[in-house]
């Protein structure tokens, strides 16, 4: 059973093994999302997160497992970037967007299509842009903490985030303009009928 980070209160009596196990339960969900954002469909996010945990498990006595969030994020990001630097295997099958309870409604389908479009655009960003963006917008980390996680300077992180957003905007501009044209035509048609 997965725990939520806010529900977990580590006690001083727990051993390192118990704290490690709890950290896996509490943080896996968000770490999988971060890994997915960085590796896209070039690798398995599950493999990334599992390997990151095992890298830490090998030297588990060195770390403080009562507050492992920053350590885990850093390790997962490093493992994801390391994997991307390896000779690129065939891309994995693109995951379908939506949770387990996708209703299939039209609005939902349109939203899924939009989200899929944006996800594909994010997958095309350079890896460090993706990593900086997901840590900034999904993990709500400050620039300084992102810089420490990625082993970069704060100005460099700001540049990556800014350029990543600009590139996304450029990649999505045709869709945005196309949607605007479609919307304009729809309104014009409604105006004529009335």
């Amino acid at each position: 059973m997965s725990l939520d980070e806010k529900d977990w209160q580590p006690s001083t009596a727990e051993t390192t093994a118990e704290l490690f196990e709890k950290a896996v339960q509490v943080h896996s969900r968000r770490l999988l999302a971060i890994a997915r954002a960085i590796v896209g469909n070039r690798a398995s996010p599950e493999d990334v997160v599992q390997q990151a945990f095992m890298n830490l498990y090998q030297h588990r006595d060195r770390y403080d497992w009562r507050e492992p969030g920053g350590l885990l994020r850093r390790t997962v990001v490093n493992e994801a970037l390391r994997l991307l630097r390896q000779p690129r295997p065939a891309a994995l099958a693109d995951e379908s967007v939506g949770s387990d309870d996708d209703s299939g409604a039209v609005a939902g389908m349109i939203e899924n299509e939009t989200v899929t479009r944006v996800r594909r655009a994010i997958d095309r960003l350079p890896e460090h842009f993706r990593a900086a963006l997901v840590l900034c917008e999904y993990e709500n980390m400050p620039y300084a903490q992102i810089a420490e996680t990625l082993g970069a300077s704060v100005p460099q992180v700001k540049t990556w985030i800014h350029r990543g957003r600009r590139q996304l905007a450029e990649m999505l501009r045709p869709y945005v303009e196309g949607d605007a044209v479609v919307e304009g035509k729809r309104r014009a048609a409604e105006g004529k009928r009335s």
Partner: protein, 193 residues
Amino acid sequence: MGSESDLELLETYLDGELPVADAEGLWRRLAAEPELSAQLDQLRADRELRQMVWRSMEPAETSVRRVEAGVGARARRRDVFSALRTAAGVLTAAAACILFGFAMGWLGHENYPSNIPQPAASTGGGIPVVSTADTSRRPELRIEDGSGNVRAVQQFRTPQEEQEFMQDLSRWNQRQSQSQIPDNVVPVSEDLQ
């Protein structure tokens, strides 16, 4: 679309990284510049869309459970392997010590002398003869006369030679006793060195 510096300023503001003094200046500009305000609204909408995308990347429960199970299984395997490796190391070290000790004992036993004196042997005349079986030196017998003067020292190459000599001497003494020749030579050999 506004200038790059305006865009960066607005994004830094939305990221919560704008210093308070700069934020106050930005609020004044937003109140005075509708285009800048519209740009901020657009950036907010883009951010909301990306938030939907980040949330869509959150895994299904089955994926989370696979990761938890996989990490648990690999951790247990690593612990078992680590324990086996430690035990193998201890056994190897113990075996090496035993082997080393055995080798030292085997090499050393040929060189160490045995200074255990042989039991007294009779020459047949009732006179004890004692010799030392000193493997580092040649066994030898001192032949003394009745006054205790050393008449001769007989050395032997091996303890067997010494033993044969003693037997010969014993037989000779017996023959002498039987023929009543007075000058029995009584070897008293005790090389205690």
